[in-house]
Protein backbone atom coordinates (compact mmCIF):
# COMPACT_ATOMS: atom_id res chain seq x y z
CA UNK A 1 0.00 0.00 0.00
CA UNK A 2 1.53 3.29 -1.01
CA UNK A 3 1.58 5.94 1.68
CA UNK A 4 1.21 9.33 0.17
CA UNK A 5 4.54 11.15 0.28
CA UNK A 6 3.78 14.79 0.75
CA UNK A 7 5.62 17.07 -1.58
CA UNK A 8 7.79 19.20 0.68
CA UNK A 9 7.78 22.02 -1.78
CA UNK A 10 4.00 22.11 -1.89
CA UNK A 11 3.86 22.32 1.88
CA UNK A 12 6.23 25.25 1.86
CA UNK A 13 4.19 26.93 -0.83
CA UNK A 14 1.13 26.69 1.39
CA UNK A 15 3.14 28.20 4.23
CA UNK A 16 4.34 31.05 2.07
CA UNK A 17 0.78 32.03 1.26
CA UNK A 18 -0.26 32.27 4.91
CA UNK A 19 0.30 36.05 5.07
CA UNK A 20 -1.84 36.48 1.99
CA UNK A 21 -4.53 34.26 3.45
CA UNK A 22 -4.48 36.20 6.70
CA UNK A 23 -4.74 39.50 4.92
CA UNK A 24 -7.50 38.38 2.59
CA UNK A 25 -9.61 36.60 5.16
CA UNK A 26 -9.03 38.59 8.32
CA UNK A 27 -8.32 42.06 7.04
CA UNK A 28 -10.47 42.20 3.96
CA UNK A 29 -13.29 39.75 4.41
CA UNK A 30 -13.33 39.78 8.19
CA UNK A 31 -13.14 43.54 8.52
CA UNK A 32 -15.89 44.08 5.98
CA UNK A 33 -18.18 41.63 7.72
CA UNK A 34 -17.39 43.13 11.12
CA UNK A 35 -18.16 46.56 9.78
CA UNK A 36 -21.44 45.25 8.47
CA UNK A 37 -22.26 43.81 11.86
CA UNK A 38 -21.59 47.14 13.57
CA UNK A 39 -23.92 48.84 11.15
CA UNK A 40 -26.71 46.67 12.49
CA UNK A 41 -26.12 47.80 16.07
CA UNK A 42 -26.46 51.01 17.99
CA UNK A 43 -22.78 51.59 18.64
CA UNK A 44 -21.73 55.15 19.23
CA UNK A 45 -18.15 55.67 20.41
CA UNK A 46 -17.57 52.00 21.15
CA UNK A 47 -18.90 48.87 19.56
CA UNK A 48 -22.03 47.54 21.19
CA UNK A 49 -23.29 44.11 20.39
CA UNK A 50 -27.02 44.71 20.28
CA UNK A 51 -29.08 44.33 17.15
CA UNK A 52 -31.24 47.11 15.81
CA UNK A 53 -31.94 45.82 12.37
CA UNK A 54 -31.90 48.42 9.65
CA UNK A 55 -32.43 51.38 11.97
CA UNK A 56 -29.07 52.91 11.18
CA UNK A 57 -29.75 52.66 7.49
CA UNK A 58 -33.06 54.45 7.94
CA UNK A 59 -31.31 57.18 9.88
CA UNK A 60 -28.70 57.37 7.20
CA UNK A 61 -31.12 57.97 4.42
CA UNK A 62 -32.97 60.65 6.33
CA UNK A 63 -29.71 62.47 6.98
CA UNK A 64 -29.45 65.57 4.78
CA UNK A 65 -25.70 65.60 4.77
CA UNK A 66 -25.45 61.99 3.70
CA UNK A 67 -27.93 62.36 0.89
CA UNK A 68 -26.22 65.48 -0.30
CA UNK A 69 -22.87 63.71 -0.26
CA UNK A 70 -24.28 60.86 -2.32
CA UNK A 71 -25.60 63.28 -4.87
CA UNK A 72 -22.27 65.03 -4.97
CA UNK A 73 -20.46 61.76 -5.50
CA UNK A 74 -22.71 60.81 -8.37
CA UNK A 75 -22.26 64.15 -10.07
CA UNK A 76 -18.55 64.11 -9.44
CA UNK A 77 -18.19 60.56 -10.63
CA UNK A 78 -19.92 61.18 -13.91
CA UNK A 79 -18.00 64.34 -14.70
CA UNK A 80 -14.67 62.96 -13.55
CA UNK A 81 -14.83 59.70 -15.47
CA UNK A 82 -16.19 61.30 -18.62
CA UNK A 83 -13.64 64.11 -18.63
CA UNK A 84 -10.70 61.82 -17.90
CA UNK A 85 -11.69 59.37 -20.60
CA UNK A 86 -12.22 62.01 -23.23
CA UNK A 87 -9.14 64.05 -22.42
CA UNK A 88 -6.98 60.97 -21.98
CA UNK A 89 -8.22 59.59 -25.26
CA UNK A 90 -7.59 62.82 -27.17
CA UNK A 91 -4.12 63.11 -25.68
CA UNK A 92 -3.37 59.52 -26.64
CA UNK A 93 -4.46 60.17 -30.21
CA UNK A 94 -2.36 63.34 -30.44
CA UNK A 95 0.71 61.64 -29.07
CA UNK A 96 0.23 58.61 -31.26
CA UNK A 97 0.24 60.80 -34.34
CA UNK A 98 3.15 63.01 -33.38
CA UNK A 99 5.54 60.35 -32.25
CA UNK A 100 8.65 62.44 -31.73
CA UNK A 101 7.31 65.45 -29.92
CA UNK A 102 4.59 63.36 -28.36
CA UNK A 103 7.11 61.01 -26.79
CA UNK A 104 8.84 63.87 -25.02
CA UNK A 105 5.56 65.37 -23.90
CA UNK A 106 4.20 62.11 -22.55
CA UNK A 107 5.97 62.63 -19.27
CA UNK A 108 4.49 66.11 -19.01
CA UNK A 109 0.98 64.73 -19.02
CA UNK A 110 1.78 61.98 -16.60
CA UNK A 111 3.72 63.83 -13.91
CA UNK A 112 0.56 64.96 -12.06
CA UNK A 113 -0.12 61.29 -11.33
CA UNK A 114 3.10 61.21 -9.32
CA UNK A 115 1.77 63.90 -7.01
CA UNK A 116 -0.32 63.02 -3.98
CA UNK A 117 -4.00 63.92 -3.82
CA UNK A 118 -3.19 66.27 -0.99
CA UNK A 119 -0.61 68.16 -3.01
CA UNK A 120 -2.96 68.27 -5.98
CA UNK A 121 -5.79 69.64 -3.86
CA UNK A 122 -3.56 72.27 -2.29
CA UNK A 123 -2.12 73.51 -5.55
CA UNK A 124 -5.50 73.89 -7.15
CA UNK A 125 -6.90 75.44 -4.00
CA UNK A 126 -4.24 78.06 -4.39
CA UNK A 127 -4.77 78.55 -8.12
CA UNK A 128 -8.52 78.89 -7.74
CA UNK A 129 -8.24 81.32 -4.84
CA UNK A 130 -10.56 84.15 -5.88
CA UNK A 131 -8.55 87.00 -4.43
CA UNK A 132 -5.08 85.92 -5.39
CA UNK A 133 -5.40 83.18 -7.96
CA UNK A 134 -6.56 82.91 -11.53
CA UNK A 135 -9.55 85.20 -11.14
CA UNK A 136 -7.36 88.01 -9.88
CA UNK A 137 -4.65 87.38 -12.48
CA UNK A 138 -7.11 87.57 -15.37
CA UNK A 139 -8.65 90.69 -13.90
CA UNK A 140 -5.22 92.29 -13.81
CA UNK A 141 -5.01 91.62 -17.52
CA UNK A 142 -7.93 93.99 -17.97
CA UNK A 143 -10.98 91.72 -17.74
CA UNK A 144 -12.25 93.40 -14.61
CA UNK A 145 -15.54 91.56 -14.66
CA UNK A 146 -13.99 88.07 -14.92
CA UNK A 147 -15.37 85.64 -12.33
CA UNK A 148 -13.80 82.36 -11.37
CA UNK A 149 -14.65 82.03 -7.71
CA UNK A 150 -16.04 78.54 -7.91
CA UNK A 151 -13.99 77.52 -4.92
CA UNK A 152 -16.12 79.56 -2.57
CA UNK A 153 -19.33 79.28 -4.52
CA UNK A 154 -21.82 76.78 -3.11
CA UNK A 155 -23.08 75.79 -6.52
CA UNK A 156 -19.73 75.29 -8.13
CA UNK A 157 -17.33 74.13 -5.46
CA UNK A 158 -17.68 70.52 -6.51
CA UNK A 159 -16.48 71.33 -10.02
CA UNK A 160 -13.20 72.63 -8.70
CA UNK A 161 -12.50 69.20 -7.31
CA UNK A 162 -13.34 67.75 -10.70
CA UNK A 163 -10.81 70.06 -12.34
CA UNK A 164 -8.05 69.20 -9.91
CA UNK A 165 -8.52 65.44 -10.05
CA UNK A 166 -9.02 65.35 -13.81
CA UNK A 167 -5.69 67.15 -14.16
CA UNK A 168 -4.15 64.47 -12.04
CA UNK A 169 -5.67 61.38 -13.62
CA UNK A 170 -5.94 62.10 -17.34
CA UNK A 171 -2.31 61.18 -17.83
CA UNK A 172 -3.04 57.72 -16.48
CA UNK A 173 -5.88 57.17 -18.94
CA UNK A 174 -3.64 58.45 -21.71
CA UNK A 175 -0.92 55.94 -20.79
CA UNK A 176 -3.30 53.02 -20.69
CA UNK A 177 -4.90 53.91 -24.02
CA UNK A 178 -1.54 54.54 -25.66
CA UNK A 179 -0.36 51.11 -24.60
CA UNK A 180 -3.54 49.70 -26.09
CA UNK A 181 -3.03 51.56 -29.34
CA UNK A 182 0.51 50.30 -29.61
CA UNK A 183 -0.89 46.81 -29.41
CA UNK A 184 -3.07 47.27 -32.45
CA UNK A 185 -1.87 45.59 -35.61
CA UNK A 186 0.17 48.06 -37.65
CA UNK A 187 -1.57 46.93 -40.83
CA UNK A 188 -4.80 48.54 -39.74
CA UNK A 189 -3.20 51.97 -39.83
CA UNK A 190 -1.79 51.22 -43.27
CA UNK A 191 -5.08 49.91 -44.57
CA UNK A 192 -6.77 53.09 -43.42
CA UNK A 193 -4.20 55.15 -45.21
CA UNK A 194 -4.69 53.28 -48.47
CA UNK A 195 -8.43 53.56 -48.14
CA UNK A 196 -7.95 57.27 -47.52
CA UNK A 197 -10.01 57.14 -44.34
CA UNK A 198 -9.83 60.49 -42.50
CA UNK A 199 -8.10 60.27 -39.16
CA UNK A 200 -11.03 61.29 -36.98
CA UNK A 201 -13.22 58.70 -38.60
CA UNK A 202 -10.61 56.01 -38.14
CA UNK A 203 -10.17 56.78 -34.49
CA UNK A 204 -13.84 57.07 -33.70
CA UNK A 205 -15.26 54.13 -35.58
CA UNK A 206 -12.37 51.68 -35.89
CA UNK A 207 -9.73 52.24 -33.27
CA UNK A 208 -11.85 53.21 -30.27
CA UNK A 209 -14.01 50.05 -30.44
CA UNK A 210 -10.83 47.99 -30.66
CA UNK A 211 -9.70 49.63 -27.44
CA UNK A 212 -12.64 48.30 -25.47
CA UNK A 213 -10.42 46.43 -23.01
CA UNK A 214 -8.09 49.36 -22.17
CA UNK A 215 -11.11 51.64 -21.93
CA UNK A 216 -12.73 49.27 -19.50
CA UNK A 217 -9.53 49.03 -17.47
CA UNK A 218 -9.19 52.79 -17.36
CA UNK A 219 -12.84 53.21 -16.38
CA UNK A 220 -12.45 50.64 -13.63
CA UNK A 221 -9.43 52.42 -12.22
CA UNK A 222 -11.15 55.80 -12.44
CA UNK A 223 -14.22 54.49 -10.67
CA UNK A 224 -12.02 53.14 -7.91
CA UNK A 225 -10.66 56.64 -7.53
CA UNK A 226 -14.17 58.04 -7.37
CA UNK A 227 -15.26 55.72 -4.60
CA UNK A 228 -12.15 56.47 -2.60
CA UNK A 229 -12.25 60.25 -3.07
CA UNK A 230 -11.19 61.75 0.23
CA UNK A 231 -7.74 63.30 0.36
CA UNK A 232 -8.37 65.81 -2.40
CA UNK A 233 -11.61 67.01 -0.83
CA UNK A 234 -10.01 67.43 2.58
CA UNK A 235 -7.10 69.32 1.10
CA UNK A 236 -9.07 71.49 -1.26
CA UNK A 237 -12.38 72.46 0.26
CA UNK A 238 -12.84 70.43 3.46
CA UNK A 239 -16.26 69.57 2.10
CA UNK A 240 -17.30 73.19 1.95
CA UNK A 241 -18.46 75.74 1.56
CA UNK A 242 -21.01 74.26 3.95
CA UNK A 243 -21.68 70.85 2.52
CA UNK A 244 -21.34 71.88 -1.08
CA UNK A 245 -18.53 69.44 -1.75
CA UNK A 246 -19.25 66.87 0.90
CA UNK A 247 -18.54 63.27 -0.13
CA UNK A 248 -19.57 59.94 1.45
CA UNK A 249 -16.05 58.98 2.53
CA UNK A 250 -15.72 62.24 4.42
CA UNK A 251 -19.11 61.68 6.04
CA UNK A 252 -18.01 58.24 7.16
CA UNK A 253 -14.65 59.40 8.47
CA UNK A 254 -16.20 62.31 10.36
CA UNK A 255 -18.69 60.02 12.04
CA UNK A 256 -16.11 57.37 12.80
CA UNK A 257 -13.86 59.69 14.71
CA UNK A 258 -15.08 63.21 15.29
CA UNK A 259 -18.81 62.68 15.74
CA UNK A 260 -18.45 59.31 17.46
CA UNK A 261 -21.24 57.41 15.77
CA UNK A 262 -19.56 54.36 14.42
CA UNK A 263 -22.75 52.47 13.66
CA UNK A 264 -23.98 55.20 11.38
CA UNK A 265 -20.56 55.46 9.79
CA UNK A 266 -20.46 51.71 9.22
CA UNK A 267 -23.87 51.83 7.63
CA UNK A 268 -22.59 54.50 5.29
CA UNK A 269 -19.54 52.42 4.50
CA UNK A 270 -21.73 49.41 3.72
CA UNK A 271 -23.85 51.44 1.34
CA UNK A 272 -20.72 52.78 -0.34
CA UNK A 273 -19.28 49.30 -0.78
CA UNK A 274 -22.50 47.99 -2.19
CA UNK A 275 -22.80 50.75 -4.74
CA UNK A 276 -19.13 50.34 -5.67
CA UNK A 277 -19.66 46.63 -6.28
CA UNK A 278 -22.83 47.20 -8.28
CA UNK A 279 -21.17 49.68 -10.56
CA UNK A 280 -17.96 47.75 -11.01
CA UNK A 281 -19.23 44.21 -11.42
CA UNK A 282 -20.36 44.63 -15.04
CA UNK A 283 -17.01 46.18 -15.90
CA UNK A 284 -15.14 43.33 -14.21
CA UNK A 285 -17.23 40.88 -16.13
CA UNK A 286 -16.77 42.66 -19.45
CA UNK A 287 -13.02 42.66 -19.02
CA UNK A 288 -12.85 39.04 -18.02
CA UNK A 289 -14.85 38.16 -21.12
CA UNK A 290 -12.68 40.16 -23.44
CA UNK A 291 -9.55 38.68 -21.85
CA UNK A 292 -10.85 35.18 -22.37
CA UNK A 293 -11.71 35.92 -25.97
CA UNK A 294 -8.25 37.22 -26.67
CA UNK A 295 -6.41 34.48 -24.80
Amino acid sequence: MNTRRIDRGLRRAHLALVPMALVALVCYLGATLWSLRISLSSSRSFPVSDFVGLAQYRRLFSNERWLHSLGNLATYGLLFVAACLVIGWLLAILIEREVRIGGALRLVFLYPYAMSFVATGLVWQWMLNPGLGIQEAVRRWGFSEFRFDWLVDQDHALYTIVIATVWQASGLVMTILLAGMRGIDADIWRAARIDAVPAWRLHLWVIAPMLAAPFATATLLLLTGVAKLYDAVVAMTQGGPGTASEVPTKFIMDHLFGRANIALASAGAAVLVLSALIVMMPLFYARARSNRRNA
Binding site: L10, R12, T32, E98, L110, P112, A114, N129, W167, V234
Partner: protein, 297 residues
Protein backbone atom coordinates in the same frame (compact mmCIF):
# COMPACT_ATOMS: atom_id res chain seq x y z
CA UNK B 1 -3.41 59.99 -55.83
CA UNK B 2 -2.19 56.86 -57.53
CA UNK B 3 -2.02 53.66 -55.54
CA UNK B 4 1.72 53.79 -55.78
CA UNK B 5 1.88 57.14 -54.13
CA UNK B 6 -0.34 55.86 -51.36
CA UNK B 7 1.91 52.86 -50.85
CA UNK B 8 5.05 54.90 -50.43
CA UNK B 9 5.74 55.76 -46.77
CA UNK B 10 4.72 59.38 -46.43
CA UNK B 11 7.74 61.62 -46.94
CA UNK B 12 8.28 63.89 -43.94
CA UNK B 13 6.70 67.15 -44.93
CA UNK B 14 7.83 70.34 -43.30
CA UNK B 15 5.71 70.80 -40.21
CA UNK B 16 5.11 74.44 -40.85
CA UNK B 17 3.84 73.75 -44.34
CA UNK B 18 1.07 71.37 -43.33
CA UNK B 19 -1.90 73.20 -41.72
CA UNK B 20 -3.46 70.08 -40.24
CA UNK B 21 -0.25 69.04 -38.60
CA UNK B 22 0.38 72.57 -37.40
CA UNK B 23 -3.00 72.62 -35.72
CA UNK B 24 -2.34 69.30 -34.03
CA UNK B 25 1.04 70.41 -32.77
CA UNK B 26 -0.45 73.63 -31.46
CA UNK B 27 -3.12 71.64 -29.65
CA UNK B 28 -0.56 69.31 -28.16
CA UNK B 29 1.70 72.09 -26.99
CA UNK B 30 -1.13 74.10 -25.44
CA UNK B 31 -2.36 71.01 -23.63
CA UNK B 32 1.15 70.49 -22.30
CA UNK B 33 1.26 74.09 -21.11
CA UNK B 34 -2.05 73.64 -19.32
CA UNK B 35 -0.72 70.59 -17.55
CA UNK B 36 2.47 72.36 -16.58
CA UNK B 37 0.66 75.41 -15.28
CA UNK B 38 0.18 74.26 -11.67
CA UNK B 39 3.83 73.31 -11.37
CA UNK B 40 4.82 76.68 -12.75
CA UNK B 41 2.50 78.54 -10.40
CA UNK B 42 3.62 76.49 -7.40
CA UNK B 43 7.26 77.23 -8.03
CA UNK B 44 6.72 80.91 -8.68
CA UNK B 45 4.66 81.45 -5.58
CA UNK B 46 7.17 79.73 -3.36
CA UNK B 47 9.85 82.21 -4.37
CA UNK B 48 7.80 85.36 -3.78
CA UNK B 49 7.35 87.31 -0.61
CA UNK B 50 3.84 87.84 0.73
CA UNK B 51 3.98 91.48 -0.44
CA UNK B 52 4.70 90.38 -3.98
CA UNK B 53 1.96 87.78 -3.86
CA UNK B 54 -0.65 90.30 -2.83
CA UNK B 55 0.44 92.88 -5.35
CA UNK B 56 1.32 90.92 -8.44
CA UNK B 57 -0.59 88.51 -10.61
CA UNK B 58 -0.45 84.76 -10.07
CA UNK B 59 1.52 84.27 -13.22
CA UNK B 60 4.02 87.08 -12.80
CA UNK B 61 7.64 86.17 -12.26
CA UNK B 62 9.06 87.14 -8.90
CA UNK B 63 11.26 90.23 -9.12
CA UNK B 64 13.83 88.43 -7.01
CA UNK B 65 14.14 84.84 -5.87
CA UNK B 66 13.65 84.52 -2.15
CA UNK B 67 14.24 81.27 -0.36
CA UNK B 68 12.72 82.49 2.89
CA UNK B 69 9.48 80.60 2.31
CA UNK B 70 11.38 77.38 1.71
CA UNK B 71 13.33 77.74 4.90
CA UNK B 72 10.20 78.48 6.86
CA UNK B 73 8.38 75.52 5.37
CA UNK B 74 11.20 73.18 6.21
CA UNK B 75 12.04 74.24 9.74
CA UNK B 76 9.71 76.74 11.29
CA UNK B 77 6.18 76.51 9.97
CA UNK B 78 3.46 75.28 12.30
CA UNK B 79 1.99 71.87 11.63
CA UNK B 80 -0.70 71.63 14.27
CA UNK B 81 0.79 71.83 17.74
CA UNK B 82 4.50 71.92 16.93
CA UNK B 83 6.14 74.63 14.86
CA UNK B 84 9.14 72.86 13.53
CA UNK B 85 8.39 72.85 9.86
CA UNK B 86 7.78 69.94 7.67
CA UNK B 87 11.21 68.37 7.96
CA UNK B 88 10.06 66.03 10.70
CA UNK B 89 7.41 64.73 8.37
CA UNK B 90 10.01 64.19 5.67
CA UNK B 91 12.04 61.85 7.79
CA UNK B 92 8.94 60.11 9.04
CA UNK B 93 7.88 59.47 5.48
CA UNK B 94 11.31 58.10 4.65
CA UNK B 95 11.16 55.76 7.64
CA UNK B 96 7.73 54.60 6.57
CA UNK B 97 8.37 54.23 2.86
CA UNK B 98 11.57 52.23 2.87
CA UNK B 99 10.50 49.26 5.00
CA UNK B 100 6.99 49.09 3.58
CA UNK B 101 8.36 49.08 0.04
CA UNK B 102 10.86 46.34 0.77
CA UNK B 103 8.36 44.15 2.60
CA UNK B 104 5.43 44.73 0.26
CA UNK B 105 7.46 44.07 -2.89
CA UNK B 106 9.09 41.00 -1.36
CA UNK B 107 5.78 39.54 -0.24
CA UNK B 108 4.15 40.40 -3.53
CA UNK B 109 6.88 38.59 -5.44
CA UNK B 110 6.63 35.57 -3.17
CA UNK B 111 2.85 35.44 -3.46
CA UNK B 112 2.95 35.94 -7.21
CA UNK B 113 5.50 33.15 -7.54
CA UNK B 114 3.51 30.76 -5.39
CA UNK B 115 0.30 31.49 -7.28
CA UNK B 116 1.83 31.28 -10.74
CA UNK B 117 3.83 28.07 -10.46
CA UNK B 118 2.36 25.96 -7.69
CA UNK B 119 -1.10 24.54 -8.08
CA UNK B 120 -2.61 25.18 -4.67
CA UNK B 121 -6.16 24.38 -3.85
CA UNK B 122 -8.17 27.40 -2.76
CA UNK B 123 -5.48 29.84 -3.76
CA UNK B 124 -7.56 31.06 -6.67
CA UNK B 125 -10.55 31.99 -4.54
CA UNK B 126 -8.31 33.55 -1.91
CA UNK B 127 -6.73 35.66 -4.58
CA UNK B 128 -10.15 36.70 -5.87
CA UNK B 129 -11.12 37.88 -2.36
CA UNK B 130 -7.92 39.89 -2.21
CA UNK B 131 -8.58 41.49 -5.56
CA UNK B 132 -12.15 42.47 -4.81
CA UNK B 133 -11.03 43.92 -1.52
CA UNK B 134 -8.58 46.12 -3.37
CA UNK B 135 -11.38 48.01 -5.05
CA UNK B 136 -13.30 48.75 -1.89
CA UNK B 137 -12.95 52.06 -0.07
CA UNK B 138 -10.57 51.92 2.86
CA UNK B 139 -13.16 53.38 5.22
CA UNK B 140 -14.93 50.04 5.32
CA UNK B 141 -11.94 48.38 6.88
CA UNK B 142 -10.64 51.31 8.88
CA UNK B 143 -12.38 50.76 12.19
CA UNK B 144 -12.04 46.97 12.34
CA UNK B 145 -8.37 47.36 11.55
CA UNK B 146 -7.92 49.85 14.35
CA UNK B 147 -9.70 47.46 16.69
CA UNK B 148 -7.50 44.63 15.50
CA UNK B 149 -4.21 46.45 15.91
CA UNK B 150 -5.02 48.31 19.14
CA UNK B 151 -4.68 45.32 21.50
CA UNK B 152 -1.38 44.53 19.79
CA UNK B 153 -0.20 48.04 20.66
CA UNK B 154 0.40 48.75 17.03
CA UNK B 155 -1.78 51.80 16.48
CA UNK B 156 0.25 54.97 16.41
CA UNK B 157 3.53 53.18 15.98
CA UNK B 158 5.93 52.99 13.09
CA UNK B 159 5.56 49.23 12.89
CA UNK B 160 1.82 49.62 12.81
CA UNK B 161 1.71 52.00 9.88
CA UNK B 162 4.19 49.87 7.97
CA UNK B 163 2.05 46.77 8.51
CA UNK B 164 -1.05 48.65 7.38
CA UNK B 165 0.65 49.79 4.19
CA UNK B 166 1.76 46.24 3.46
CA UNK B 167 -1.79 45.00 3.99
CA UNK B 168 -3.34 47.47 1.61
CA UNK B 169 -0.76 47.14 -1.11
CA UNK B 170 -0.79 43.36 -1.18
CA UNK B 171 -3.46 42.98 -3.91
CA UNK B 172 -1.71 45.11 -6.51
CA UNK B 173 1.75 43.78 -5.72
CA UNK B 174 0.59 40.18 -5.86
CA UNK B 175 -1.28 40.81 -9.07
CA UNK B 176 1.57 42.31 -11.06
CA UNK B 177 4.01 39.64 -9.98
CA UNK B 178 1.59 36.83 -10.63
CA UNK B 179 0.98 38.09 -14.14
CA UNK B 180 4.70 38.52 -14.72
CA UNK B 181 5.59 35.03 -13.56
CA UNK B 182 2.69 33.50 -15.45
CA UNK B 183 4.15 34.92 -18.65
CA UNK B 184 7.54 33.25 -18.12
CA UNK B 185 8.12 29.85 -19.77
CA UNK B 186 7.00 27.21 -17.34
CA UNK B 187 9.75 24.88 -18.47
CA UNK B 188 12.38 26.91 -16.63
CA UNK B 189 10.56 26.16 -13.41
CA UNK B 190 10.09 22.48 -14.28
CA UNK B 191 13.77 22.12 -15.14
CA UNK B 192 14.73 23.61 -11.80
CA UNK B 193 12.32 21.26 -10.02
CA UNK B 194 13.72 18.25 -11.80
CA UNK B 195 17.17 19.34 -10.73
CA UNK B 196 15.99 19.11 -7.17
CA UNK B 197 15.14 22.70 -6.34
CA UNK B 198 12.59 23.13 -3.58
CA UNK B 199 10.09 25.96 -3.14
CA UNK B 200 12.38 28.60 -1.69
CA UNK B 201 15.49 27.61 -3.62
CA UNK B 202 13.76 27.91 -6.98
CA UNK B 203 12.40 31.30 -5.90
CA UNK B 204 15.61 32.80 -4.59
CA UNK B 205 18.06 31.41 -7.14
CA UNK B 206 15.91 31.39 -10.25
CA UNK B 207 12.72 33.44 -10.24
CA UNK B 208 13.76 36.44 -8.19
CA UNK B 209 16.94 37.16 -10.20
CA UNK B 210 14.92 36.80 -13.38
CA UNK B 211 12.38 39.38 -12.29
CA UNK B 212 14.71 42.30 -11.58
CA UNK B 213 12.97 44.72 -13.97
CA UNK B 214 9.60 43.91 -12.41
CA UNK B 215 11.02 44.37 -8.93
CA UNK B 216 12.18 47.83 -9.92
CA UNK B 217 8.79 48.72 -11.35
CA UNK B 218 6.94 47.42 -8.31
CA UNK B 219 9.28 49.26 -5.97
CA UNK B 220 8.69 52.52 -7.80
CA UNK B 221 4.92 52.11 -7.73
CA UNK B 222 4.91 51.13 -4.09
CA UNK B 223 7.30 53.83 -2.91
CA UNK B 224 5.37 56.53 -4.73
CA UNK B 225 2.04 55.24 -3.48
CA UNK B 226 3.13 55.03 0.15
CA UNK B 227 4.81 58.41 0.08
CA UNK B 228 1.66 60.01 -1.31
CA UNK B 229 -0.70 58.33 1.13
CA UNK B 230 -2.69 60.55 3.48
CA UNK B 231 -5.53 58.63 5.11
CA UNK B 232 -3.63 55.65 6.45
CA UNK B 233 -0.92 57.90 7.79
CA UNK B 234 -3.53 60.06 9.46
CA UNK B 235 -5.18 57.20 11.29
CA UNK B 236 -2.41 54.73 12.00
CA UNK B 237 0.86 56.59 12.20
CA UNK B 238 0.46 58.32 15.53
CA UNK B 239 1.61 61.80 16.34
CA UNK B 240 5.33 61.06 16.44
CA UNK B 241 5.35 59.44 13.04
CA UNK B 242 3.02 61.55 10.92
CA UNK B 243 4.06 61.35 7.29
CA UNK B 244 4.81 64.42 5.24
CA UNK B 245 1.43 64.53 3.50
CA UNK B 246 -0.45 64.76 6.77
CA UNK B 247 1.86 67.45 8.09
CA UNK B 248 1.46 69.31 4.83
CA UNK B 249 -2.30 69.37 5.14
CA UNK B 250 -2.02 70.48 8.75
CA UNK B 251 0.36 73.21 7.76
CA UNK B 252 -1.83 74.61 5.03
CA UNK B 253 -5.35 74.09 6.24
CA UNK B 254 -5.15 74.51 9.97
CA UNK B 255 -3.23 77.73 10.39
CA UNK B 256 -4.66 80.45 12.49
CA UNK B 257 -4.15 84.04 11.44
CA UNK B 258 -2.98 85.03 8.02
CA UNK B 259 -2.08 82.36 5.60
CA UNK B 260 1.37 82.41 4.17
CA UNK B 261 0.80 81.19 0.66
CA UNK B 262 4.44 81.16 -0.27
CA UNK B 263 5.23 78.88 2.64
CA UNK B 264 2.25 76.72 1.71
CA UNK B 265 3.50 76.29 -1.83
CA UNK B 266 7.07 75.69 -0.74
CA UNK B 267 5.84 73.00 1.61
CA UNK B 268 3.71 71.44 -1.12
CA UNK B 269 6.66 71.36 -3.47
CA UNK B 270 8.88 69.86 -0.81
CA UNK B 271 6.35 67.09 -0.23
CA UNK B 272 5.87 66.42 -3.92
CA UNK B 273 9.62 66.53 -4.57
CA UNK B 274 10.45 62.92 -3.75
CA UNK B 275 7.85 61.24 -5.98
CA UNK B 276 8.47 63.78 -8.74
CA UNK B 277 12.16 63.01 -8.54
CA UNK B 278 11.54 59.27 -8.68
CA UNK B 279 9.29 59.92 -11.62
CA UNK B 280 11.85 62.08 -13.40
CA UNK B 281 14.64 59.55 -12.96
CA UNK B 282 12.70 56.37 -13.49
CA UNK B 283 9.70 57.64 -15.42
CA UNK B 284 9.94 55.03 -18.12
CA UNK B 285 9.61 52.21 -15.63
CA UNK B 286 6.90 54.08 -13.78
CA UNK B 287 4.89 54.12 -17.02
CA UNK B 288 5.62 50.48 -17.66
CA UNK B 289 4.41 49.64 -14.18
CA UNK B 290 1.12 51.39 -14.66
CA UNK B 291 0.49 49.79 -18.02
CA UNK B 292 1.54 46.34 -16.87
CA UNK B 293 -0.29 46.38 -13.57
CA UNK B 294 -3.54 47.66 -14.84
CA UNK B 295 -3.87 46.10 -18.21
CA UNK B 296 -3.82 42.50 -17.24
CA UNK B 297 -5.86 42.11 -14.09
Amino acid sequence: MSAQQLMRPSAPRRWYADPARLALLALLVSAALCFLLPLYVMSLTSFKSMEEIRNTSLFALPPQLSFAAWQAAWSSACTGVACEGISAGFWNSVLIVIPSTLIAVGLGALNGYALAFWRLRGAGSLFAVLMIGAFLPIQVMMLPLVRLLAPLHLVGTLTGIIIVHVIFSMPVMTLIFRNYYAALPRELFLAARLDGAGFLYAFLRLMLPMSLPMLAVAAIMQATGVWNDYLLGLVFAGREHLPMTVQLNNLVNTTTGTREYNVDMAATLLTALVPLLIYALAGRWFVRGIAAGSLKA
